[in-house]
Point group: C2
Chain length 373, copies 2
């Protein structure tokens, strides 16, 4: 059956990327592969907006999240973790496993952290090694104010680690200009690839912590990655086909410049949010992300059935809510290669299902804004 | 240019596998994906010859090697590591990073460890947690006697960890019958996939060490993997396309039963070794693997030029020697999807280059055995 993925990872993969990954495999210890890796890596810097080194891991995004802890922390260290959804909580879990004390900055799900709350906490606690936050908290479709928080953290000895796994290439991120020390990213979201690659960019300030960090690591070690990267390589066998795909997808993203790609994405995000409201639905997030939109399931409707029916009847895939939000929200991605025509198809299906479920709205209202694109 | 990969990883990927991986991506938190993962996992058990749990990591083989250390050891523990090549040494490196004492059993490169040497060392050292060895040491194309060493280790409290990354589905391995506690594997060798997946099977005896193991781990944690596997899942976003490819490649491997697949592989390995000798070359290994063959570069010939000329002139890819063996050997893989016709093409090219380099042999002698297949 046809399948239109409007899920916040994996996102649809452009045909050219699938094609490049479907070629007979090449060997990785060669000039040919190094050239591909170099082109991909150079272009990654443009998307991250950084001149810092970017390390490419063969792992899920969680691998790079763990790398951002173990390479700068030691057991007994203190870090601040912004927790406003499932992915914020993962940094706490990782820290705990390594004996690092994660001081939570818990916020209501669907809201973004107040920069002054970070400032107060940094002042109250002594010797905080790092602050962990998301660019986009995927679980609630909320964009955090990285720029403002980076300004706060920059005035301390702490480094700022931003999980941009779902936000990269969708929500604005100026790594160097804002002073983000470590940016964590993954392949299967805005980068339009299958899952399997993850990334960390590392600033000079963060490097200052690497030497003394006593959390043990081998596969995820920044120093090993750096040594190999300086030779244009990775320390262990890379996921060759995914790196080949990465080169292709970055070409697509940068074809007209990153700004235009992001602007098209923002236009689609704006129209999607309007479409949600035009259907008489509420946005869940107080500070919505341009990568993904979360809509509240209207009172009295079965949110899980809604998701299921969309898949079964129309082949349209939205994501449901996680944990406490299960059945209460649904999430629609508009990042990566997702086009206005995809979104129109998605909302036509959504109208059909909402109608069948008895939700009242003016037919066609969900498509009005999207038809303008 | 045409490219015939006869390298011990990555190996050529069958067209059906490339095709399956080139389909539009599907979501991983679904019944559809779980079914694919289950079929792949069930068939992996047949190839591993085990009823133990097998965990699938999104990582290079090194990730699974690290998992086989951190999940059973604590800082200060002692392990024995057989070192007869680059990959044996990696276990020592990993142990060191975690404060685990790796007692080396160093053997001459190209030889296999004597089971009685393992026995003596196990008796001499007290409280050894584990013995680490390879099934096939890829660097020297040597098959180790896992069966005999497993018998020795079984009589102690130590567990046996076997790196089968390059050996699986080529060199004989009977995990349960022989009593191998942890088998480490990777996707890009006998399993005929791109790199990016790695595996660990874990015996009951090894599980006995997991609870008390104090090396910290999160992404590579067996307990997290087990909890998810019991629900038919992985704890973190898997490399979806590679798992889809895995299901396809295992179908191919098991189409006529594993025994027939391995027998065809052995026939090709035997013929390749004879072909090497017929060309007046010596085998490097004293106990050759059926996954890969290492030939000594004849005295006076430039081994690195040989590899380069094969690639440049014929598009045929052999692997060179690593570390001290650089320029001294070349390695020819015959695992996975490599067919007799591929090997004939490889040896025709090899004859051409050897002739041009002035090596004396009877023309066509390298093809004699291979033509019988």
């Amino acid at each position: 059956m046809k399948r239109l993925l409007l899920t916040p990872g994996p996102t649809p993969i452009p045909p050219d990327v699938l094609g490049a990954m479907g070629e007979p495999i090449i060997h990785h210890r060669t000039a040919e592969y190094k050239e591909i890796f170099k082109e991909a890596n150079d272009n990654l810097h443009k998307v991250f907006k950084t001149q810092n080194d970017i390390f490419t891991f063969t792992s899920s995004g969680t691998g790079a999240m763990e790398a951002s802890v173990v390479n700068i922390c030691s057991p007994g260290d203190k870090v601040i973790v912004v927790r406003g959804g499932k992915f914020g909580e993962r940094f706490s879990d990782i820290s705990k496993f390594y004996g690092v004390e994660a001081i939570p900055l818990d916020i209501e799900w669907g809201t973004a952290p107040d920069p002054s709350a970070v400032e107060v906490l940094l002042k109250a606690k002594k010797k905080v090694k790092a602050v962990y936050m998301s660019l986009c908290e995927t679980a609630t479709a909320t964009a955090y104010d990285v720029k403002a928080i980076a300004k706060v953290v920059a005035q301390t000895d702490a480094v700022l680690v931003v999980d941009a796994i779902s936000g990269l290439a969708a929500d604005e991120l100026k790594t160097d200009e804002w002073g983000v020390d470590i940016v964590v990213a993954g392949s299967q979201k805005g980068l339009m690839l299958p899952p399997g690659l993850s990334f960390c960019s590392v600033s000079k300030k963060a490097w200052g912590l690497v030497e003394s960090a006593r959390c043990p690591r081998f596969y995820l070690c920044f120093k090993g990655m750096k040594k190999a990267l300086d030779k244009g390589d990775t320390p262990f066998t890379p996921a060759i086909t995914l790196v080949i795909g990465l080169r292709e997808s970055l070409k697509i993203i940068l074809a007209d410049g990153l700004d235009k790609f992001m602007a098209r994405n923002k236009t689609l995000a704006d129209a999607t949010r309007k479409a949600v409201k035009d259907l008489g639905l509420e946005l869940f997030s107080k500070r919505p992300s341009d990568a993904v939109t979360a809509a509240k399931v209207p009172d009295g409707l079965d949110g899980e059935a809604l998701i299921k029916d969309l898949r079964k009847k129309h082949g349209v895939w939205f994501a449901g809510g996680q944990a406490a939000l299960k059945g209460k929200i649904f999430r629609i991605a508009h990042m990566g290669s997702i086009r206005p025509s995809d979104m129109r198809e998605g909302f036509a299906a959504l109208e059909d299902i909402l109608k069948a479920m008895g939700h009242k709205f003016e037919p066609g209202s969900g498509l009005k804004e999207l038809k303008k694109l």
